[in-house]
């Protein structure tokens, strides 16, 4: 833990560098198209920050973040479709396949304010309910992972099964405006990128605060010795639910920003496979660290785009291989290499503490 104090300034400097890269360098060197892609990766990175918190720090292997991502995304998409259609009118895709009009539960999302509140509240609320239902019953480890994955599967099926309300397997797309701004205008698209970058930085700050706070210590304690925490007078279910809910909120916001940036949301973006895809970046980057999940998610998404541009079918194999290699040989992710170098430099005679640092909790890995 001394490394945290030692890296006190490193975190601040790293944060500044990230801000400069995101706000000054990237817009200057990237085309509008590439900047849009980066914006998309940033949305994945938001989900990753949450996963890092829930899985890396809290030991909850959540394979269903696509659900929270999807709720945020669909809420935003519904609002954009309604706003595009105009007051009281029916969105284009709905008018094509049904004459019923707009479902009642779509109506509140004509209001931008209601939509934004719902994006922040609904995923969080769902996570709180799920967390209380599962963690109180001491569902954890692989059982929790399977449960969350089943949820992602069910969510995708639900979306596909209701084409009138959700656009079915095509999803919702062809958005024209974003809160009054035209999405065709490159300046507005750049603004969206800036919003995503700012949101990500805020989330990283929130995650950092949670990690260094007493809550963060308690969360790690729950990960490593849930029973023991209980005998100290805490209810671990509450602690884990809070972390899970924060992760869900981050995923929801990521999903909501994904929609105007990418221009489409469909069950393919929220089901089982994308949910696992979100996790892979976190595992590769280093789930217990602050920057690992962010960099891992961005790197994996970037690799996916560039590789699948050249070998359309090859990506899945590369992804699977990377995941296996990291899990088998580098359970702490690439971040553990950095930590390794740092400890090797700082403490010439490495004490047993450093040895321990290199292999971040095999117990957590076994739980996964």
């Amino acid at each position: 833990m001394t490394s945290i104090f030692r890296s006190r300034y490193a975190v601040g400097i790293g944060f500044l560098v990230a801000a400069v890269l995101l706000f000054a360098v990237a817009p200057a060197v990237l085309t509008t198209f590439r900047l849009g892609l980066l914006g998309k990766y940033l949305c994945y990175a938001m989900v990753a920050v949450g996963i890092g918190l829930a899985w890396g720090r809290g030991g909850m292997l959540t394979l269903g973040q696509g659900v929270f991502f999807g709720i945020g995304a669909y809420l935003m998409a519904m609002h954009l479709k309604l706003a595009d259609a105009g007051p009281g009118a029916v969105p284009d895709f709905m008018a094509l396949i049904s004459s019923e009009g707009v479902p009642w539960w779509w109506e509140p999302f004509r209001s931008g304010t209601v939509t934004i509140i719902a994006i922040l509240v609904l995923p969080t609320l769902l996570a709180v309910l799920l967390g209380q239902a599962t963690f109180r019953r001491k569902v954890r480890g692989a059982y929790f992972a399977i449960l969350s994955q089943a949820l992602a599967a069910a969510f995708a099926i639900l979306l596909i099964g209701n084409p009138v309300a959700t656009g079915g397997s095509t999803g919702l797309n062809n958005f024209k405006g974003f809160f009054g701004f035209s999405l065709r205008d490159p300046a507005n698209r750049q603004m969206l990128y800036f919003i995503a970058a700012a949101a990500l930085l805020v989330m990283v700050l929130v995650a950092r605060q949670l990690m260094v706070s007493r809550f963060g210590e308690l969360l790690v304690a729950c990960r490593d010795g849930e029973e023991r925490v209980r005998f100290l007078g805490y209810d671990p279910a509450t602690v884990k639910t809070v972390a899970f809910a924060v992760a869900a909120m981050m995923a929801g916001v990521g999903g909501a920003l994904f929609v105007p940036i990418v221009g489409i949301i469909s069950p393919n973006d929220v089901g089982v496979v994308p949910s696992i895809g979100l996790l892979i970046g976190v595992a590769i980057g280093g789930r217990t660290t602050l920057a690992g999940p962010v960099l891992g998610a961005i790197a994996v998404a970037w690799a996916e785009t560039s590789l699948s541009e050249q070998f359309p079918s090859g990506w899945t194999y590369v992804q699977g291989l990377m995941f296996m290699l990291v899990v088998a040989f580098l359970p702490g992710g690439l971040a553990s290499l950095v930590k390794w170098r740092r400890t090797a430099k700082a403490d010439p005679p490495p004490p047993p503490a450093a040895e321990k640092d290199l292999t971040p909790e095999p117990a957590g890995g076994a739980q996964a």
Binding site: S213, L232, Y234, A353
Partner: protein, 258 residues
């Protein structure tokens, strides 16, 4: 507080028909250092499992006038009941200070929890002093020596403000010096607390116990001071097998004074 004592009345724990603890009556007063001994399977650990809420039990288990049975583990802990396990379970990735700080904080407000720890709480400082780990405050608990982990656990009970401490084989695997250290530690902390120790180590028991309860097959077999228990023929029979035993034989197993 004179009400700070543990009173078990007809405490019974059964697992699918097997009765592990069978109608145990037991009172331990504040200031006592009570050792629970007995052969394997006597129900010693199960008894403290029941009191701490880990297993379901019938009967009554009162501490400080409140019945503990049926309460959730963390509720019981908040009533001032703390325990350790046979294998030291500290949070290995966290430092000594962090371990103790967590133990001290069950009543903290969400606002306090969301902030970083600033400084060392007085109770934590004091507990580190008491268990002798002050110099190791920033050491990861995972690399502590076995004995130090057990002391850290006892320290965690102290900052948790446990008034009833139940320790499950605290000296198992310790060196002779570590055992002495632990015994003196227990004598220091039992003055204003109720302490129950499950132990197999007879030498340790003889050196530090204020009173002893012998369990056998889930029942209380004998109770009293160390000398009284050692002299009890029933206890000798359980430990040495049926029949008459010479004082020498008894002394080998149960120690001098039997």
């Amino acid at each position: 507080m004179n009400t700070d004592y543990l009173e078990l009345t007809g405490l019974t724990v059964s697992f699918d028909g097997f009765v592990a603890v069978d109608g145990v009556n037991l009172s331990v007063l504040k200031g006592d250092l009570r050792f629970l001994i007995g052969p394997n399977g006597a129900g010693k650990t199960t008894l403290i499992d029941a009191v701490s809420g880990l297993v379901q039990a019938t009967g009554r288990a009162e501490f400080a006038g409140k019945d503990l049975l049926g309460l959730k583990v963390h509720r019981i802990a908040r009533l001032g009941v703390g325990r350790t396990f046979q294998t030291a379970t500290v949070f290995e990735e966290l430092t000594v200070l962090q371990n103790l700080d967590i133990a001290a904080g069950a009543g903290r407000s969400p606002w306090t929890l969301l902030r970083k720890r600033s400084g060392v709480p007085a109770a934590v400082e004091e507990a580190m002093e008491t268990v002798g780990l002050t110099a190791l405050a920033d050491t990861q608990a995972g690399i502590l020596a076995h004995g130090q982990k057990q002391w850290l656990e006892i320290g965690m009970l102290l900052v948790q403000d446990a008034r009833l401490l139940m320790l499950d084989e605290p000296v198992a695997g310790m060196s002779a010096e570590e055992k002495d250290e632990t015994g003196r530690l227990l004598q220091r902390i039992c003055a204003d607390r109720t302490v129950v120790v499950v132990e197999h180590d007879m030498d340790f028991m003889r050196s530090f116990a204020k009173s002893v309860t012998v369990l056998h097959a889930g029942k209380v077999l004998s109770e009293g001071s160390v000398a009284e228990v050692q002299a009890d023929p029933k206890v000798q029979e359980v430990y040495l097998g049926p029949g008459h035993h010479t004082a020498e034989e008894a002394a080998i197993v149960l120690g001098e004074g039997a």
